[in-house]
Amino acid sequence: MSNGVLEVKAISGHTGPVPGRDASRDFAVAKLIDVTTCIGCKACEVACLEWNGYPFRETTFDNTYQTMPDTAWNYYNLIRFNEYVGDDGAFSWLMRKDQCMHCADPGCLRACPSDSAIVQYANGIVDFQQEFCIGCQYCVTGCPFNIPKFNPETKKVHKCTLCSDRVGAGLEPACIKACPTGCLHFGSKDDMTNLAGQRVAQLKEHTSHKNAGVYDPPGVGGTHVMYVLHDIDHPERYGGLPKDPQVPLLVRIWKGPLKWMGNLAMTAGIIGVLAHFVRYGPKDKHD
């Protein structure tokens, strides 16, 4: 999706200059998940498997509506289910579609040592290139959402691609297409942010969810997958969504100061011994 696609060129039945001509819109894409209208049908899970060509895998049953305990290398998308009883005794089923959040500051990409194994597109999609993946799983360490999953047979790590192949062809991701309630939306980040704001205002005005809000965590620079939550102060109720996700501090130290300090120290070591040789030379030979 290029800037030009979203730029207005001509408008029918309109005299004079075209409004917005030459004005480019933000073409970053985003997925908006309105958890308040998710019914937990799992059509998105099936659509994800179908589009990505994975067979349906074994499920577990632990007296909930959740298909399995966690996402997997060949199961990118999982509806997390939680029975929640509020302070006032009100009972609710919380459903959250869990998948890669496509962070603007992706911890996986920061942590990855392999050239080209993780790419971030200008539209915000973070994608793994398995042919360059070396299987070290540093990305798992870097991710604050526990998303990348390792395939022990191929030694490659996989995760949700935000259907970069579909989006590149102008289509919406497979999960969006399958959703029957309209709880999933896809479009530009600006549009989705607006839509989320409208929905939150609606929830506050017409329902008892006075603390509704948009989940677009600034700790990772914002995400290209956003949630509308009933209660923005308690994201952890939705299957452990972190309240303030960050790229772990140790990962930032490891990939920041430790790199340049280490490089400097090694270079200084080599220069140091060279300088020693030039200044003092070898010791005497003793035959």
Binding site: P113, S114, D115, A117, F132, C133, I134, G135, C136, Q137, Y138, V140, T141, N146, F150, P152, K155, P248, L250, V251, I253, W254, L258, K259, G262, N263, A265, M266, G269, I270, V273, H276, F277, Y280, G281, P282, K283, D284, K285, H286, D287
Partner: protein, 202 residues
């Protein structure tokens, strides 16, 4: 000529050196993007990721082997502490002022212990990084940082060790390759050891 290193000692040294150097090269490749080409030169990223921990384990085995062989020779003595006081004279090649040494001088011993404890830290952190899928997630980042810090310390020692053995002390590389040194070399660098092995009272 005097035998300084037995065949057994030389094999052990070079096995340790070989396994360390492989880990050094592939480790640098994964350490910084500027050196990732090393991984490609050595067979590709996945190959390097596969063999690095295997060679690392072999390095630890060699280090234990070496420890059994040289542990006794490597303990610090009063002579070593005396030598350390004159370290500056040694570095600046004023060797007439340096006190007589046993089989290994204090610098060699320090290098030995840096590598020995470095290997232990690299092993503990390396096992976590070898099989991260079986390790708790909170343990992984600290172990990676520990692994890199320990590796950097050993690299510091390694640079100095190679420089001294190959360039700074003529005869050093020859000794560890062939096992033998001249009488003059032994007397100049390790006088106490020279007297012990030759019985020379001079």
């Amino acid at each position: 000529m005097i035998e300084r290193y037995t065949f057994h000692e030389r094999v052990c040294h070079w096995m340790t050196a070989l396994t360390y150097t492989y880990c050094f090269a592939t480790g640098l490749a994964l350490y910084t993007p500027h050196l990732f080409w090393i991984a490609l030169a050595l067979g590709g990223g996945p190959t390097s990721r596969f063999w690095h921990p295997v060679f690392g384990a072999a390095f630890v085995v060699c280090a234990i082997w070496m420890h059994g062989m040289w542990r006794g020779d490597m303990s610090m003595t009063d002579v070593d502490r005396e030598w350390m006081k004159g370290l500056r004279d040694y570095i600046e090649n004023r060797d007439d002022r340096v006190v007589a040494q046993g089989r290994f001088n204090a610098g060699q011993k320090e290098f030995y212990w840096i590598m020995y404890y470095g290997a232990a830290l690299l092993l503990v952190s390396g096992v976590v990084m070898w099989f991260p899928e079986y390790m708790p997630i909170w343990l992984r980042a600290p172990m990676i940082v520990l692994h890199e810090c320990a590796a950097l310390v050993t690299i510091g020692g390694f640079i100095i060790h190679v420089y001294m053995g190959v360039f700074m002390v003529p005869g050093g590389l020859h000794a560890i390759l062939t096992g033998s040194v001249t009488r003059g070399w032994a007397k100049a660098h390790h006088a106490i050891w020279y007297k012990a092995v030759t019985g020379d009272r001079e």
